[in-house]
Symmetry: C2
Subunit: 424 residues, 2 copies
């Protein structure tokens, strides 16, 4: 094992820099144009879902409802049953939405802002609003709470989920803190799975705000790459803690069938659901039931879905292997970076040496590989240590990914060495 790079002498660093610059300029000369910025599936993955595009033979629901016409605000009963079966929750909690769970989250914040819930005042009437943001986390979550003027409080992640000591202390001590963003299984970007204890503590913790909300974005709830990781039941945890209305769960088939043409859902207490539907019924007559049928005719039931996800995992696993093997081969010796090996989801999260993430991504971009912007995984895009990078390996082909990862590792090392040489 080579000693960590930050223990090297200046002469050693300079020598390595010359070597890395040569490697880097070799990559630069290739005129690469690769985009790994977002968690998009590759076309190879999408090709597995082409039967969703088949002719929709009988546009009627199981109960005979003509899905071509208006109505059924909360979604087809069989669609709710399907989601219930897959996520192991009562369909009576579920509302089927349109194509985007992000929209369901945004609209949930809108409703809480405009109307409040369960008899509590509209959030817009309160002098100050804050939200807990386990970080690194999902930039589109943070963008929503930023849009509505919440002060976002980053909470560090541990291998079991957000630092629960800090979450409990913050939530108990400040009534302006109205909620928390969570991606409880294979978190974006680290792939952290919330432990049973974390789930239980979230459900039962004391919160100064009586209408504190857990935004439980179970985006990767069935996106296992290896063995199936089990997630504890957030609704049961909230009920056990005496806080039955605390959690909103979100899920969609965007990364199961087609992104942007899947079916999204949210779940809540039956109480909350009634209130949400009251407002939703003013906003829409109902979501696209034909697309619900189309999706259901392919995904069918939990066992069929499981098989489908296993097939997708066959395509995804080699991509994660490329990322992790390359990181291991290129960055382990010398301790240039640290990363977590995810067991599912869509991302790998890597920490460079402090102060090197922006420079690393700038180098990569200048050599033709665009990655998620530095800081994106923190509220206000502000990574206090400038070190976290989200690697999104799902979109490129395996060959492209291999090239991109080799270049990326050169950039990580080059940025580190430049930093240690005092160049920036």
């Amino acid at each position: 094992m080579i000693k960590p790079v930050y223990e090297w002498s200046h002469a050693e660093l300079e020598a390595l820099k010359v070597e890395l610059e040569a490697e880097y300029s070799e990559f630069s000369s290739r005129n690469l144009a690769l985009n790994m910025a977002r968690g998009k599936p590759s076309s190879g993955l999408l090709d597995h879902n082409m039967n969703v595009l088949d002719k929709l033979e009988n546009p009627c629901a199981a109960d005979g409802t003509d899905a071509r016409n208006y109505g059924i605000l909360d979604g087809l009963p069989e669609m709710r049953r399907f989601f219930g079966e897959v996520l192991n929750i009562d369909p009576e909690r579920i509302i089927v939405g349109g194509n985007s769970s992000l929209t369901l989250m945004y609209d949930s914040i809108v409703r809480l802002m405009m109307f409040g819930s369960c008899g509590f005042p509209a959030w817009r009437s309160l002098p100050k609003l804050k939200f807990l943001c386990p970080s690194p986390g999902y930039d589109r979550h943070f963008a929503i709470t930023q849009e509505f003027g919440f002060e976002m409080i980053p909470v560090p992640m541990t291998e079991n989920g957000p630092d629960m000591d800090m979450v409990e202390e913050l939530a108990a001590g400040d009534e302006a803190i109205k909620g928390i963003w969570c991606v409880p299984l294979y978190s974006n970007p680290q792939g952290v799975c919330y432990s049973d204890e974390t789930v239980s503590r979230l459900g039962k913790m004391k919160t100064a705000a009586p209408d504190f909300k857990i935004f439980w974005d179970n985006a990767y709830g069935v996106h296992h790459l290896y063995e199936e990781v089990k997630l504890a039941d957030i609704f049961a945890a909230c009920e056990a803690g005496g806080n039955p209305d605390r959690a909103y769960m979100f899920f969609s088939t965007s990364k199961i069938t087609f992104p942007g043409a899947g079916v999204a859902m949210m779940a809540s207490s039956v109480n909350e659901r009634k209130e949400i539907l009251k407002h939703m019924g003013i906003q829409t007559i109902g979501s696209d039931k034909l697309n619900q049928l189309r999706t259901l005719r392919v995904l069918k039931d939990a066992p069929t879905l499981k098989k489908h996800m296993a097939e997708l995992a066959e395509v995804l696993r080699p991509k994660f292997d490329i990322v992790l093997k390359t990181l291991d081969a290129e960055l382990k010796d010398g301790a240039f970076a640290s990363w977590i090996t995810p067991r599912g989801g869509y991302f790998v999260s890597l920490d460079t040496l402090d102060g090197c993430a922006k420079k690393t991504l700038e180098l990569a971009k200048n050599a033709g590989v665009t990655m998620t912007g530095a800081g994106a995984t923190f509220p206000y895009k502000n990574d206090p240590h400038d070190r976290n990078i989200r690697i999104a390996p799902t979109y490129p082909s395996n060959d492209e990914l291999q090239t991109a990862m080799k270049l990326f590792c050169v950039c990580v090392k080059l940025a580190a060495v430049k930093k240690l040489c005092g160049e920036f």
Copy 2:
């Protein structure tokens, strides 16, 4: 021509009542169960669109974009071009939404409430909000402004659109009045088409609120039943009046292909569009592009759409004929009611004698025919004269419709006679 019923003697009324009660009880004995409550297309109409359900052969847009994947917030370029061609507006004004134009309207109010537009303050920060509601009008519009706490001011309709003298006076005199609901072509429920003068006056009128908004719901923009009625260009009118950001236009294919599975759009000034997209980009990654392709592959272009709408009109016209002929045959003599003969759209609006709408619909319901609730066409469901009834002839079969209309006419007459006899 028989003299108007309100000029009849008590004895004449009593005699007619006996006759009508006999007819009514004959209908009651038939155990009818017909629903004419909403503007839903019949399955016969929907059967004309079955090719929308065909296999989607090539899921790529004209420019090669893979419509299966994430992205394209404002919709596929060819979808915007299609809407632009059909509505004769610049595609640069257009944002393609999901399946519901109602949602685009609701979300537009949300944005104005939360953020304001064009540099004007968020509406939620203002002490009082009001909205002009040409009435009779569309209940779902009024439900939105009610949801957000606007004081809704009814404005009477004329044969050329809302009473513009009143609209101008109100809008100029009260800065709390922030907008107006309009269904400018074949208005819901009367089928009124806004005259060129009305459109021009709406565009140029002085408003005390500098950010006054016209919600231009062109829901029936291509739903001609006979000759094509031309609607003046609201954007041109607003620009000519020096108010380029005043109008939001809404449209969808819900009543062209399938309700709830069509494609909705909104249009605005390019200025406004930029702001709307900024917020929309936080709410969603994009709408369902596969459904945009699916819809476009059938509707193709303006001439193809025109042919398609002419085919639908062939199915719809007989329904409107049944309604209008039955009203003419049963209600004209005696002046029991007045109504407008629409040239397109989805409804027929009828006024009973004052104070008789609720009773008429109660009688109809008790005999097995459910119609849109009395008052629904006015803000707060409050028809000050209790006389307006929306007839929605599009859903029942022609036979059912004939029966329902005959019963309905008996109910109109029976309610009138009971009223004049002092029974309620």
